[in-house]
Symmetry: C2
Subunit: 140 residues, 2 copies
Amino acid sequence: MTLISIGRLSDETGTKIPTIRYYESIGLLPEPPRTASNRRLYDPHAVARLRFIRHARDLGFEIEAIRDFLGLMDHPGGPCHHAHGLVRQHLEAIDAKIAQLQAMRHAIERVSPNCPYNRVEQCPAIEVLSDHALCPDGCP
Amino acid sequence: MTLISIGRLSDETGTKIPTIRYYESIGLLPEPPRTASNRRLYDPHAVARLRFIRHARDLGFEIEAIRDFLGLMDHPGGPCHHAHGLVRQHLEAIDAKIAQLQAMRHAIERVSPNCPYNRVEQCPAIEVLSDHALCPDGCP
DNA sequence: GCTACAATCTCCAGCGACTAGAGGATCAAG
DNA sequence: CTTGATCCTCTAGTCGCTGGAGATTGTAGC
């Protein structure tokens, strides 16, 4: 069982050191054992857990959702309906975000990249932002 | 020239009142005139400016970018190269976000919506989050 | 006029998810 | 034995809002 320092954990998971300590402070990562000189020591299980957290964060899950996942994983005999619900909800949220971004893209795309004018008053880049009719979805 | 209250401005633009005051505090909206009893009064120009701000925020522009846009619009005779640069940069950022979300979606999609198991230990929803090989792009 | 109640004012504190810095202790290498 | 990297705790800052406390004002009904 190889124990590693916080710096090593940081390198291996691509997580900044303060972020690791932050996850510990909010209870996502358990308090690790320490050396005689008070330095944190992490085992492979902690590495996996942090990697899971980072992966889920990269996928856009919120901390509280991840806390739920970790809670489920800490009770491996239990039912997993809740996990499915979380994932499904998140998929829907992702689809909504993608749709919104694509609408955005189309709205912004209308801006001619080669503006024939050179003055702000006639600039389509400013216009597309000002023109209410070009809103992707119904804005107030 | 119809002057409206902050509540009215809030309703017309779909912006919460504290948000309007926040925009004023950071200098995005100018300090409006007040009634004798110190209440803010907004003219149609302020409504348009706030709508512009909200629209740009909905499109994902950061406050500082919006400040730039507004600065450009306040000098309507000047050149607009900068506005184009901002919009182009933003388009690139949107494309990157869309790509990332789609990668996410594919990763999460692998989770079977009808899990044949009913226990967390065999649940593919948990697995897809744990399995490092399913990462959308090279994670550490 | 009086009483409710809604709207507004200022100021301050908090959210999420980190990130950065100060100031001090400890480790590993030369 | 010194140097520099790494670690510790603690505090405060980031962004873009959001909400509450407590005081004042505007409006409507009686």
